[in-house]
Amino acid sequence: MLTLRFIKLSIKAALEYRTDFIFMIAVGIIWQVTVVAFATVVITRFPGLGGWSAGDVLLVASVRLAGHTFASGFFIGLRQVSELTADGKIDAFLLRPLPVYRQVMLNYFHMPEFGGLAVVAVMFAAAVRMVDIDWTPWRIGYLVASVVGATLLEVALQTVLGAFALRRPTVKLWQEWTEELMAAFGNYPLHILPNLAWAVFVFVLPIAFCAYFPVAVLTGQTSSLPVPAGVAVASPLISATLFLAALGWWRIELRRYESVGG
Protein backbone atom coordinates (compact mmCIF):
# COMPACT_ATOMS: atom_id res chain seq x y z
CA MET A 1 0.00 0.00 0.00
CA LEU A 2 2.55 2.49 1.16
CA THR A 3 4.75 1.33 -1.69
CA LEU A 4 2.02 2.26 -4.14
CA ARG A 5 1.65 5.67 -2.50
CA PHE A 6 5.38 6.23 -2.89
CA ILE A 7 5.20 5.28 -6.54
CA LYS A 8 2.26 7.59 -7.16
CA LEU A 9 4.04 10.44 -5.44
CA SER A 10 7.17 9.88 -7.45
CA ILE A 11 5.24 9.93 -10.70
CA LYS A 12 3.43 13.08 -9.61
CA ALA A 13 6.77 14.72 -8.89
CA ALA A 14 8.07 13.67 -12.29
CA LEU A 15 4.99 15.11 -13.96
CA GLU A 16 5.90 18.48 -12.47
CA TYR A 17 8.27 18.75 -15.38
CA ARG A 18 6.02 17.46 -18.09
CA THR A 19 8.27 17.85 -21.12
CA ASP A 20 11.05 16.20 -19.24
CA PHE A 21 8.77 13.34 -18.31
CA ILE A 22 7.93 12.74 -21.95
CA PHE A 23 11.58 12.89 -22.82
CA MET A 24 12.35 10.35 -20.11
CA ILE A 25 9.88 7.94 -21.64
CA ALA A 26 11.44 8.56 -25.05
CA VAL A 27 14.83 7.83 -23.50
CA GLY A 28 13.55 4.56 -22.12
CA ILE A 29 12.31 3.51 -25.53
CA ILE A 30 15.39 4.67 -27.42
CA TRP A 31 17.62 2.93 -24.94
CA GLN A 32 15.82 -0.34 -25.47
CA VAL A 33 15.90 0.15 -29.23
CA THR A 34 19.64 0.65 -28.92
CA VAL A 35 19.98 -2.68 -27.22
CA VAL A 36 17.82 -4.37 -29.83
CA ALA A 37 19.77 -2.71 -32.62
CA PHE A 38 23.00 -3.90 -31.14
CA ALA A 39 21.70 -7.40 -30.62
CA THR A 40 20.56 -7.46 -34.24
CA VAL A 41 23.95 -6.25 -35.38
CA VAL A 42 25.73 -8.99 -33.49
CA ILE A 43 23.31 -11.71 -34.48
CA THR A 44 23.10 -10.86 -38.17
CA ARG A 45 26.72 -9.88 -38.66
CA PHE A 46 28.33 -12.59 -36.59
CA PRO A 47 26.27 -15.76 -36.87
CA GLY A 48 27.29 -18.85 -34.97
CA LEU A 49 28.89 -16.90 -32.14
CA GLY A 50 30.70 -19.38 -29.88
CA GLY A 51 28.73 -22.20 -31.44
CA TRP A 52 25.42 -20.71 -30.31
CA SER A 53 22.56 -20.03 -32.70
CA ALA A 54 21.19 -16.52 -33.28
CA GLY A 55 18.09 -17.41 -31.26
CA ASP A 56 20.18 -18.54 -28.28
CA VAL A 57 22.08 -15.26 -28.26
CA LEU A 58 18.85 -13.29 -28.59
CA LEU A 59 17.43 -15.18 -25.61
CA VAL A 60 20.48 -14.20 -23.53
CA ALA A 61 19.96 -10.57 -24.51
CA SER A 62 16.23 -10.81 -23.72
CA VAL A 63 16.71 -12.24 -20.23
CA ARG A 64 19.34 -9.66 -19.39
CA LEU A 65 17.28 -6.77 -20.72
CA ALA A 66 14.18 -7.93 -18.84
CA GLY A 67 16.22 -8.16 -15.63
CA HIS A 68 17.73 -4.76 -16.22
CA THR A 69 14.34 -3.20 -16.89
CA PHE A 70 12.93 -4.41 -13.59
CA ALA A 71 16.13 -3.62 -11.71
CA SER A 72 16.34 -0.04 -12.86
CA GLY A 73 12.60 0.45 -12.77
CA PHE A 74 12.25 -0.44 -9.11
CA PHE A 75 15.71 0.13 -7.73
CA ILE A 76 17.08 3.16 -9.53
CA GLY A 77 17.10 4.98 -6.18
CA LEU A 78 20.19 2.96 -5.34
CA ARG A 79 22.09 4.87 -7.95
CA GLN A 80 21.14 8.16 -6.29
CA VAL A 81 22.49 7.35 -2.86
CA SER A 82 25.32 9.85 -3.19
CA GLU A 83 22.88 12.66 -4.00
CA LEU A 84 20.48 11.58 -1.28
CA THR A 85 23.37 11.71 1.19
CA ALA A 86 24.56 15.10 0.01
CA ASP A 87 21.03 16.52 0.30
CA GLY A 88 20.63 15.13 3.81
CA LYS A 89 17.69 13.00 2.63
CA ILE A 90 19.19 9.90 4.19
CA ASP A 91 19.00 11.73 7.54
CA ALA A 92 15.30 12.22 6.98
CA PHE A 93 14.83 8.59 5.95
CA LEU A 94 16.52 7.47 9.16
CA LEU A 95 13.97 9.42 11.16
CA ARG A 96 10.97 7.63 9.70
CA PRO A 97 9.51 4.32 10.82
CA LEU A 98 10.32 2.60 7.52
CA PRO A 99 13.39 0.71 6.36
CA VAL A 100 15.85 3.16 4.81
CA TYR A 101 16.47 0.73 1.97
CA ARG A 102 12.85 0.79 0.94
CA GLN A 103 12.72 4.56 1.10
CA VAL A 104 15.81 4.85 -1.07
CA MET A 105 14.39 2.36 -3.51
CA LEU A 106 11.08 4.19 -3.72
CA ASN A 107 12.49 7.69 -3.63
CA TYR A 108 12.45 7.80 -7.35
CA PHE A 109 10.39 5.47 -9.39
CA HIS A 110 11.80 5.15 -12.85
CA MET A 111 8.61 5.20 -14.84
CA PRO A 112 10.16 5.33 -18.33
CA GLU A 113 11.87 2.02 -17.83
CA PHE A 114 8.56 0.26 -17.87
CA GLY A 115 7.83 1.62 -21.32
CA GLY A 116 10.75 -0.58 -22.30
CA LEU A 117 8.84 -3.68 -21.28
CA ALA A 118 7.16 -3.59 -24.68
CA VAL A 119 10.56 -3.90 -26.32
CA VAL A 120 11.44 -6.74 -23.96
CA ALA A 121 8.25 -8.54 -24.94
CA VAL A 122 9.03 -8.22 -28.64
CA MET A 123 12.55 -9.51 -28.09
CA PHE A 124 11.32 -12.49 -26.10
CA ALA A 125 8.75 -13.31 -28.76
CA ALA A 126 11.40 -13.23 -31.47
CA ALA A 127 13.84 -15.27 -29.41
CA VAL A 128 11.29 -17.90 -28.45
CA ARG A 129 10.37 -18.35 -32.13
CA MET A 130 13.97 -18.66 -33.15
CA VAL A 131 15.22 -21.08 -30.49
CA ASP A 132 14.60 -24.76 -30.65
CA ILE A 133 13.28 -25.44 -27.17
CA ASP A 134 10.43 -27.64 -26.05
CA TRP A 135 8.65 -25.28 -23.66
CA THR A 136 7.64 -27.56 -20.82
CA PRO A 137 6.14 -25.93 -17.70
CA TRP A 138 9.42 -26.64 -15.93
CA ARG A 139 11.38 -24.71 -18.58
CA ILE A 140 8.91 -21.82 -18.55
CA GLY A 141 9.20 -21.73 -14.77
CA TYR A 142 12.98 -21.70 -15.06
CA LEU A 143 12.86 -18.86 -17.59
CA VAL A 144 10.78 -16.78 -15.17
CA ALA A 145 13.20 -17.65 -12.37
CA SER A 146 16.06 -16.55 -14.64
CA VAL A 147 14.48 -13.14 -15.20
CA VAL A 148 13.95 -12.73 -11.46
CA GLY A 149 17.55 -13.87 -10.92
CA ALA A 150 18.85 -11.39 -13.51
CA THR A 151 16.95 -8.63 -11.71
CA LEU A 152 18.25 -9.62 -8.29
CA LEU A 153 21.82 -9.91 -9.51
CA GLU A 154 21.86 -6.41 -10.93
CA VAL A 155 20.14 -5.10 -7.81
CA ALA A 156 22.67 -6.93 -5.62
CA LEU A 157 25.62 -5.28 -7.38
CA GLN A 158 24.01 -1.86 -7.21
CA THR A 159 23.13 -2.40 -3.54
CA VAL A 160 26.71 -3.24 -2.62
CA LEU A 161 27.95 -0.15 -4.43
CA GLY A 162 25.07 1.97 -3.15
CA ALA A 163 26.00 0.99 0.42
CA PHE A 164 29.53 2.25 -0.22
CA ALA A 165 28.05 5.44 -1.63
CA LEU A 166 26.54 6.25 1.78
CA ARG A 167 29.95 7.46 2.81
CA ARG A 168 31.80 7.96 -0.48
CA PRO A 169 29.97 10.00 -3.10
CA THR A 170 32.42 9.08 -5.87
CA VAL A 171 31.15 5.51 -5.83
CA LYS A 172 28.45 6.79 -8.13
CA LEU A 173 30.99 6.57 -10.94
CA TRP A 174 31.45 2.88 -10.20
CA GLN A 175 27.72 2.34 -10.22
CA GLU A 176 27.43 3.85 -13.68
CA TRP A 177 30.44 1.93 -14.88
CA THR A 178 28.98 -1.36 -13.63
CA GLU A 179 25.75 -0.72 -15.44
CA GLU A 180 27.62 0.11 -18.63
CA LEU A 181 29.67 -3.05 -18.43
CA MET A 182 26.60 -5.15 -17.80
CA ALA A 183 24.88 -3.63 -20.81
CA ALA A 184 27.93 -4.08 -23.01
CA PHE A 185 28.93 -7.62 -22.06
CA GLY A 186 25.83 -9.24 -20.60
CA ASN A 187 24.39 -10.22 -23.95
CA TYR A 188 26.95 -12.76 -25.18
CA PRO A 189 27.78 -16.37 -24.73
CA LEU A 190 30.76 -15.39 -22.61
CA HIS A 191 32.90 -18.42 -23.42
CA ILE A 192 33.93 -16.61 -26.62
CA LEU A 193 36.08 -14.40 -24.41
CA PRO A 194 39.58 -15.36 -23.26
CA ASN A 195 39.85 -17.04 -19.83
CA LEU A 196 40.86 -13.92 -17.95
CA ALA A 197 37.86 -11.99 -19.26
CA TRP A 198 35.24 -14.59 -18.46
CA ALA A 199 36.84 -15.19 -15.07
CA VAL A 200 36.15 -11.51 -14.38
CA PHE A 201 32.53 -12.03 -15.33
CA VAL A 202 32.15 -15.08 -13.13
CA PHE A 203 34.07 -14.08 -10.01
CA VAL A 204 34.43 -10.31 -9.91
CA LEU A 205 31.44 -8.88 -11.70
CA PRO A 206 29.25 -11.99 -11.94
CA ILE A 207 27.41 -11.01 -15.11
CA ALA A 208 27.59 -14.62 -16.29
CA PHE A 209 24.93 -15.67 -13.76
CA CYS A 210 22.61 -13.02 -15.05
CA ALA A 211 21.52 -14.47 -18.40
CA TYR A 212 24.34 -16.46 -20.00
CA PHE A 213 24.31 -19.45 -17.60
CA PRO A 214 20.50 -19.78 -17.32
CA VAL A 215 20.06 -19.66 -21.09
CA ALA A 216 22.80 -22.27 -21.51
CA VAL A 217 20.74 -24.47 -19.16
CA LEU A 218 17.54 -23.85 -21.11
CA THR A 219 19.14 -24.57 -24.47
CA GLY A 220 21.03 -27.60 -23.12
CA GLN A 221 24.47 -26.21 -23.92
CA THR A 222 25.98 -26.48 -20.47
CA SER A 223 28.86 -28.55 -21.81
CA SER A 224 30.40 -25.47 -23.45
CA LEU A 225 30.38 -23.59 -20.13
CA PRO A 226 33.52 -22.92 -18.12
CA VAL A 227 31.70 -23.99 -14.92
CA PRO A 228 30.00 -27.24 -13.86
CA ALA A 229 26.43 -27.60 -15.11
CA GLY A 230 25.08 -27.67 -11.55
CA VAL A 231 26.44 -24.19 -10.89
CA ALA A 232 24.77 -22.92 -14.04
CA VAL A 233 21.44 -24.42 -13.05
CA ALA A 234 21.67 -22.79 -9.64
CA SER A 235 22.20 -19.32 -11.18
CA PRO A 236 18.86 -17.82 -10.06
CA LEU A 237 19.51 -19.16 -6.57
CA ILE A 238 23.03 -17.74 -6.54
CA SER A 239 21.67 -14.36 -7.63
CA ALA A 240 19.11 -14.44 -4.83
CA THR A 241 21.82 -15.32 -2.30
CA LEU A 242 24.00 -12.48 -3.53
CA PHE A 243 21.04 -10.15 -3.17
CA LEU A 244 20.50 -11.17 0.46
CA ALA A 245 24.19 -10.78 1.17
CA ALA A 246 24.09 -7.34 -0.41
CA LEU A 247 21.22 -6.35 1.88
CA GLY A 248 23.32 -7.44 4.86
CA TRP A 249 26.19 -5.29 3.65
CA TRP A 250 23.80 -2.37 3.23
CA ARG A 251 22.75 -2.72 6.86
CA ILE A 252 26.36 -2.74 8.01
CA GLU A 253 27.25 0.34 5.98
CA LEU A 254 24.14 2.15 7.18
CA ARG A 255 25.34 1.79 10.75
CA ARG A 256 28.52 3.51 9.71
CA TYR A 257 26.63 6.31 8.01
CA GLU A 258 28.31 9.65 8.69
CA SER A 259 25.82 12.23 7.45
CA VAL A 260 27.09 15.49 6.03
CA GLY A 261 27.63 18.95 7.47
CA GLY A 262 28.21 20.14 11.06
Binding site: M1, L2, R5, F6, L9, K12, A13, E16, Y17, D87, G88, K89, D91, A92, L94, L95, R96, P97, L98, R255, R256, Y257, E258, S259, G261, G262
Partner: protein, 329 residues
Protein backbone atom coordinates in the same frame (compact mmCIF):
# COMPACT_ATOMS: atom_id res chain seq x y z
CA UNK B 1 7.76 5.95 32.19
CA UNK B 2 10.09 7.70 34.59
CA UNK B 3 13.62 8.94 34.12
CA UNK B 4 14.88 11.68 31.84
CA UNK B 5 13.58 12.05 28.29
CA UNK B 6 17.02 12.27 26.81
CA UNK B 7 20.27 11.06 28.20
CA UNK B 8 23.77 11.19 26.76
CA UNK B 9 26.49 9.22 28.51
CA UNK B 10 30.06 9.89 27.46
CA UNK B 11 29.00 10.19 23.84
CA UNK B 12 31.84 10.15 21.38
CA UNK B 13 31.96 10.35 17.61
CA UNK B 14 35.05 9.96 15.49
CA UNK B 15 35.08 10.46 11.73
CA UNK B 16 37.79 8.89 9.66
CA UNK B 17 38.95 10.79 6.62
CA UNK B 18 41.73 10.17 4.17
CA UNK B 19 44.28 12.90 3.95
CA UNK B 20 45.79 13.94 0.68
CA UNK B 21 49.46 14.53 0.65
CA UNK B 22 50.48 17.68 -1.18
CA UNK B 23 51.96 17.64 -4.67
CA UNK B 24 51.89 15.13 -7.47
CA UNK B 25 54.14 12.58 -5.81
CA UNK B 26 52.04 12.93 -2.70
CA UNK B 27 48.93 12.20 -4.73
CA UNK B 28 50.54 9.05 -6.07
CA UNK B 29 51.59 7.94 -2.61
CA UNK B 30 48.08 8.54 -1.31
CA UNK B 31 46.90 6.23 -4.06
CA UNK B 32 49.01 3.37 -2.83
CA UNK B 33 48.82 3.96 0.88
CA UNK B 34 46.06 6.39 1.75
CA UNK B 35 46.78 8.17 4.98
CA UNK B 36 43.89 8.08 7.42
CA UNK B 37 43.19 10.69 9.96
CA UNK B 38 40.65 10.63 12.75
CA UNK B 39 38.64 13.70 13.49
CA UNK B 40 36.99 13.70 16.85
CA UNK B 41 33.72 15.56 16.40
CA UNK B 42 32.30 14.79 19.83
CA UNK B 43 34.39 13.82 22.86
CA UNK B 44 32.69 12.39 25.93
CA UNK B 45 29.57 14.47 26.01
CA UNK B 46 27.25 13.68 28.92
CA UNK B 47 24.03 15.39 29.91
CA UNK B 48 20.38 14.66 30.39
CA UNK B 49 17.18 16.46 29.62
CA UNK B 50 14.07 16.09 31.74
CA UNK B 51 10.63 15.56 30.29
CA UNK B 52 9.06 18.81 29.16
CA UNK B 53 12.34 20.69 29.42
CA UNK B 54 13.89 22.85 26.73
CA UNK B 55 17.64 22.66 26.47
CA UNK B 56 19.55 25.08 24.32
CA UNK B 57 22.64 23.43 22.87
CA UNK B 58 25.12 26.18 22.13
CA UNK B 59 28.59 26.41 20.74
CA UNK B 60 30.62 27.90 17.93
CA UNK B 61 30.55 26.46 14.41
CA UNK B 62 32.04 23.00 14.25
CA UNK B 63 31.74 22.46 18.00
CA UNK B 64 29.91 19.16 17.54
CA UNK B 65 26.35 20.33 18.15
CA UNK B 66 24.84 18.80 15.03
CA UNK B 67 26.76 15.57 15.47
CA UNK B 68 25.44 15.30 19.03
CA UNK B 69 21.88 15.91 17.89
CA UNK B 70 22.23 13.40 15.09
CA UNK B 71 23.46 10.75 17.51
CA UNK B 72 20.54 11.40 19.84
CA UNK B 73 18.11 11.29 16.93
CA UNK B 74 19.50 7.94 15.82
CA UNK B 75 20.89 9.18 12.50
CA UNK B 76 24.46 8.53 13.55
CA UNK B 77 25.72 5.61 15.56
CA UNK B 78 28.03 6.82 18.37
CA UNK B 79 31.63 5.60 18.21
CA UNK B 80 31.51 5.21 21.97
CA UNK B 81 29.27 5.99 24.89
CA UNK B 82 25.54 5.74 24.93
CA UNK B 83 22.56 7.77 23.89
CA UNK B 84 19.15 7.09 25.37
CA UNK B 85 15.91 8.61 24.23
CA UNK B 86 12.94 7.78 26.44
CA UNK B 87 15.11 5.14 28.05
CA UNK B 88 16.08 3.37 24.83
CA UNK B 89 19.02 3.44 22.48
CA UNK B 90 17.74 5.28 19.39
CA UNK B 91 19.63 3.52 16.59
CA UNK B 92 18.81 0.02 17.84
CA UNK B 93 15.12 0.27 17.14
CA UNK B 94 14.76 3.06 14.65
CA UNK B 95 11.09 2.45 14.00
CA UNK B 96 10.08 2.83 17.63
CA UNK B 97 12.43 5.78 17.99
CA UNK B 98 11.04 7.48 14.88
CA UNK B 99 7.56 7.64 16.41
CA UNK B 100 8.95 9.22 19.54
CA UNK B 101 10.97 12.00 18.00
CA UNK B 102 10.57 14.77 15.48
CA UNK B 103 13.46 16.68 13.99
CA UNK B 104 14.13 19.72 11.86
CA UNK B 105 17.55 20.39 10.46
CA UNK B 106 17.13 24.00 9.46
CA UNK B 107 19.26 23.93 6.36
CA UNK B 108 17.80 20.71 4.97
CA UNK B 109 14.25 19.86 4.15
CA UNK B 110 12.56 16.51 4.37
CA UNK B 111 9.73 17.72 2.13
CA UNK B 112 9.39 16.48 -1.41
CA UNK B 113 10.99 19.27 -3.36
CA UNK B 114 8.76 19.16 -6.42
CA UNK B 115 5.40 18.55 -4.79
CA UNK B 116 2.97 20.77 -2.88
CA UNK B 117 3.81 20.67 0.83
CA UNK B 118 0.40 19.19 1.57
CA UNK B 119 1.37 16.13 -0.47
CA UNK B 120 4.38 15.68 1.78
CA UNK B 121 2.14 15.93 4.84
CA UNK B 122 -0.25 13.24 3.61
CA UNK B 123 2.68 11.07 2.66
CA UNK B 124 4.08 11.40 6.18
CA UNK B 125 0.63 10.68 7.54
CA UNK B 126 0.74 7.36 5.71
CA UNK B 127 4.33 6.61 6.64
CA UNK B 128 3.62 7.15 10.33
CA UNK B 129 0.20 5.50 10.01
CA UNK B 130 -1.64 8.44 11.57
CA UNK B 131 -5.42 8.16 11.84
CA UNK B 132 -7.17 10.55 9.46
CA UNK B 133 -9.11 12.18 12.32
CA UNK B 134 -5.99 12.78 14.40
CA UNK B 135 -4.14 13.96 11.31
CA UNK B 136 -6.80 16.55 10.54
CA UNK B 137 -6.87 17.91 14.11
CA UNK B 138 -3.10 18.16 14.28
CA UNK B 139 -2.75 19.81 10.91
CA UNK B 140 -5.40 22.32 11.97
CA UNK B 141 -3.54 23.04 15.18
CA UNK B 142 -0.22 23.39 13.34
CA UNK B 143 -1.82 25.65 10.77
CA UNK B 144 -3.24 27.79 13.56
CA UNK B 145 0.21 28.23 15.05
CA UNK B 146 2.30 28.54 11.90
CA UNK B 147 -0.22 29.95 9.39
CA UNK B 148 0.61 27.40 6.75
CA UNK B 149 -2.60 27.28 4.77
CA UNK B 150 -1.76 30.30 2.64
CA UNK B 151 1.23 28.58 1.08
CA UNK B 152 1.02 24.85 1.69
CA UNK B 153 -0.22 24.25 -1.82
CA UNK B 154 3.13 25.55 -3.07
CA UNK B 155 6.16 23.42 -3.80
CA UNK B 156 9.10 23.85 -1.41
CA UNK B 157 11.25 25.01 -4.31
CA UNK B 158 8.91 27.99 -4.72
CA UNK B 159 8.74 28.84 -1.02
CA UNK B 160 10.67 31.43 0.90
CA UNK B 161 13.03 30.09 3.53
CA UNK B 162 10.66 31.02 6.35
CA UNK B 163 7.75 29.24 4.72
CA UNK B 164 9.80 26.15 4.01
CA UNK B 165 11.06 25.80 7.57
CA UNK B 166 7.56 26.33 8.94
CA UNK B 167 6.36 23.49 6.73
CA UNK B 168 9.26 21.37 7.93
CA UNK B 169 8.32 22.08 11.55
CA UNK B 170 4.78 20.96 10.84
CA UNK B 171 6.06 17.86 9.05
CA UNK B 172 8.20 16.95 12.06
CA UNK B 173 5.28 17.27 14.49
CA UNK B 174 2.53 15.57 12.51
CA UNK B 175 3.02 12.30 14.36
CA UNK B 176 2.84 14.08 17.71
CA UNK B 177 6.29 13.14 19.03
CA UNK B 178 7.01 13.91 22.70
CA UNK B 179 10.62 14.76 21.89
CA UNK B 180 11.82 17.28 19.32
CA UNK B 181 15.27 18.07 17.96
CA UNK B 182 15.66 21.44 16.30
CA UNK B 183 19.00 22.16 14.66
CA UNK B 184 19.19 25.86 13.86
CA UNK B 185 15.54 26.16 12.91
CA UNK B 186 15.55 29.94 12.56
CA UNK B 187 18.77 30.29 10.61
CA UNK B 188 18.49 32.94 7.92
CA UNK B 189 14.92 33.94 8.79
CA UNK B 190 13.50 37.43 8.94
CA UNK B 191 12.39 38.86 12.28
CA UNK B 192 8.69 38.12 11.81
CA UNK B 193 9.22 34.50 10.82
CA UNK B 194 11.70 34.03 13.67
CA UNK B 195 9.22 35.39 16.14
CA UNK B 196 6.56 33.01 14.92
CA UNK B 197 8.86 30.01 15.14
CA UNK B 198 9.99 30.95 18.65
CA UNK B 199 6.42 31.33 19.79
CA UNK B 200 5.72 27.95 18.24
CA UNK B 201 8.58 26.32 20.11
CA UNK B 202 7.52 27.91 23.36
CA UNK B 203 4.00 26.69 22.86
CA UNK B 204 5.22 23.15 22.25
CA UNK B 205 7.20 23.16 25.50
CA UNK B 206 4.80 25.01 27.77
CA UNK B 207 1.41 23.90 26.46
CA UNK B 208 2.19 20.50 25.01
CA UNK B 209 4.98 19.54 27.46
CA UNK B 210 7.28 18.35 24.72
CA UNK B 211 10.97 17.90 25.38
CA UNK B 212 13.06 20.05 23.08
CA UNK B 213 16.75 20.26 22.23
CA UNK B 214 17.44 23.39 20.30
CA UNK B 215 20.64 24.60 18.70
CA UNK B 216 20.95 28.16 17.56
CA UNK B 217 23.39 31.01 17.22
CA UNK B 218 20.75 33.56 17.99
CA UNK B 219 21.22 34.66 21.59
CA UNK B 220 17.97 36.60 21.67
CA UNK B 221 16.30 33.30 20.98
CA UNK B 222 18.16 31.61 23.79
CA UNK B 223 17.20 34.38 26.18
CA UNK B 224 13.56 34.06 25.15
CA UNK B 225 13.25 30.30 25.23
CA UNK B 226 15.83 28.62 27.38
CA UNK B 227 16.31 28.42 31.07
CA UNK B 228 19.05 25.87 30.82
CA UNK B 229 21.91 25.91 28.34
CA UNK B 230 24.56 23.41 27.40
CA UNK B 231 27.70 24.84 25.92
CA UNK B 232 29.93 22.66 23.81
CA UNK B 233 33.23 23.58 22.29
CA UNK B 234 35.61 21.36 20.40
CA UNK B 235 33.41 18.37 21.10
CA UNK B 236 33.32 18.81 24.87
CA UNK B 237 30.75 20.17 27.28
CA UNK B 238 32.11 23.39 28.74
CA UNK B 239 29.05 24.55 30.63
CA UNK B 240 25.82 22.91 31.69
CA UNK B 241 23.47 24.95 33.80
CA UNK B 242 21.09 27.84 34.07
CA UNK B 243 21.28 30.73 31.71
CA UNK B 244 21.04 33.22 34.56
CA UNK B 245 23.99 31.61 36.35
CA UNK B 246 26.00 31.72 33.15
CA UNK B 247 25.30 35.39 32.83
CA UNK B 248 26.28 35.95 36.41
CA UNK B 249 29.47 33.97 36.09
CA UNK B 250 30.72 35.39 32.86
CA UNK B 251 28.87 38.71 32.61
CA UNK B 252 31.19 41.59 33.28
CA UNK B 253 28.59 43.85 34.83
CA UNK B 254 25.92 46.40 34.11
CA UNK B 255 25.28 49.18 31.65
CA UNK B 256 23.00 52.18 32.03
CA UNK B 257 22.16 54.37 29.10
CA UNK B 258 20.79 57.81 29.86
CA UNK B 259 19.63 60.68 27.69
CA UNK B 260 19.71 64.05 29.40
CA UNK B 261 17.55 66.93 28.23
CA UNK B 262 20.59 69.18 28.22
CA UNK B 263 22.74 66.71 26.35
CA UNK B 264 25.38 67.06 29.09
CA UNK B 265 25.93 65.12 32.29
CA UNK B 266 24.56 67.39 35.03
CA UNK B 267 26.59 67.80 38.22
CA UNK B 268 25.82 65.43 41.08
CA UNK B 269 25.80 62.31 38.96
CA UNK B 270 28.49 59.81 39.93
CA UNK B 271 30.94 59.13 37.08
CA UNK B 272 31.41 60.99 33.80
CA UNK B 273 29.78 58.36 31.48
CA UNK B 274 30.71 57.78 27.87
CA UNK B 275 28.94 59.80 25.24
CA UNK B 276 27.31 57.60 22.61
CA UNK B 277 25.15 59.55 20.15
CA UNK B 278 22.77 61.71 22.16
CA UNK B 279 23.05 59.51 25.21
CA UNK B 280 25.59 58.74 27.89
CA UNK B 281 26.47 55.21 28.88
CA UNK B 282 27.57 54.37 32.38
CA UNK B 283 29.07 50.95 33.01
CA UNK B 284 30.56 49.03 35.87
CA UNK B 285 30.79 45.77 37.76
CA UNK B 286 29.90 46.81 41.29
CA UNK B 287 26.15 46.46 41.90
CA UNK B 288 26.21 49.01 44.72
CA UNK B 289 27.55 51.63 42.32
CA UNK B 290 24.71 50.80 39.94
CA UNK B 291 22.05 51.20 42.61
CA UNK B 292 23.54 54.52 43.65
CA UNK B 293 23.57 55.77 40.08
CA UNK B 294 19.99 54.67 39.47
CA UNK B 295 18.78 56.39 42.62
CA UNK B 296 20.31 59.67 41.61
CA UNK B 297 18.97 59.41 38.08
CA UNK B 298 15.40 58.52 38.95
CA UNK B 299 14.86 61.71 40.98
CA UNK B 300 15.77 64.02 38.14
CA UNK B 301 13.42 65.81 35.74
CA UNK B 302 16.02 66.36 33.04
CA UNK B 303 16.41 62.65 32.29
CA UNK B 304 14.38 62.07 29.12
CA UNK B 305 15.27 58.43 28.60
CA UNK B 306 16.71 55.69 30.74
CA UNK B 307 17.69 52.17 29.82
CA UNK B 308 19.46 49.59 31.87
CA UNK B 309 20.70 46.16 30.95
CA UNK B 310 23.32 43.56 31.68
CA UNK B 311 25.96 42.47 29.25
CA UNK B 312 24.65 41.20 25.92
CA UNK B 313 24.39 37.46 25.85
CA UNK B 314 26.37 37.65 22.61
CA UNK B 315 29.24 39.26 24.50
CA UNK B 316 29.04 36.66 27.21
CA UNK B 317 29.12 33.78 24.74
CA UNK B 318 32.08 35.24 22.93
CA UNK B 319 33.80 35.63 26.30
CA UNK B 320 33.05 32.05 27.28
CA UNK B 321 34.22 30.59 23.97
CA UNK B 322 37.43 32.58 24.13
CA UNK B 323 38.08 31.76 27.72
CA UNK B 324 37.52 28.03 27.25
CA UNK B 325 39.62 27.98 24.13
CA UNK B 326 42.45 29.55 26.08
CA UNK B 327 42.07 26.98 28.85
CA UNK B 328 42.15 24.01 26.50
CA UNK B 329 44.95 25.42 24.34
Amino acid sequence: MDGPAIEARRLRKVFTTSVRRPGFVGALRSLVAPERADTVAVEEVSFSVARGELLALLGPNGAGKSTTIKMLAGVLVPSDGEARVAGQVPHLDRKVNARRIGAVFGQRTQLWWDLPAVESFTMLRDIFKIEQEAYRTRLEELDGLLELASFWQRRPRQMSLGQRVRCDLAAALLHDPPIIFLDEPTIGMDAVAKEQVREFIRYQVEQRSRTVILTTHDMAEVARLARRVLLVNEGRVVYDGGLAELQKEYGSGWKVRVTFATGEVPPGIPGPGEKVGDAHVFAGVDPTAKRELMRSLLDRDDVTDLETHGDDLEDIMAAVYRKRAAVTA
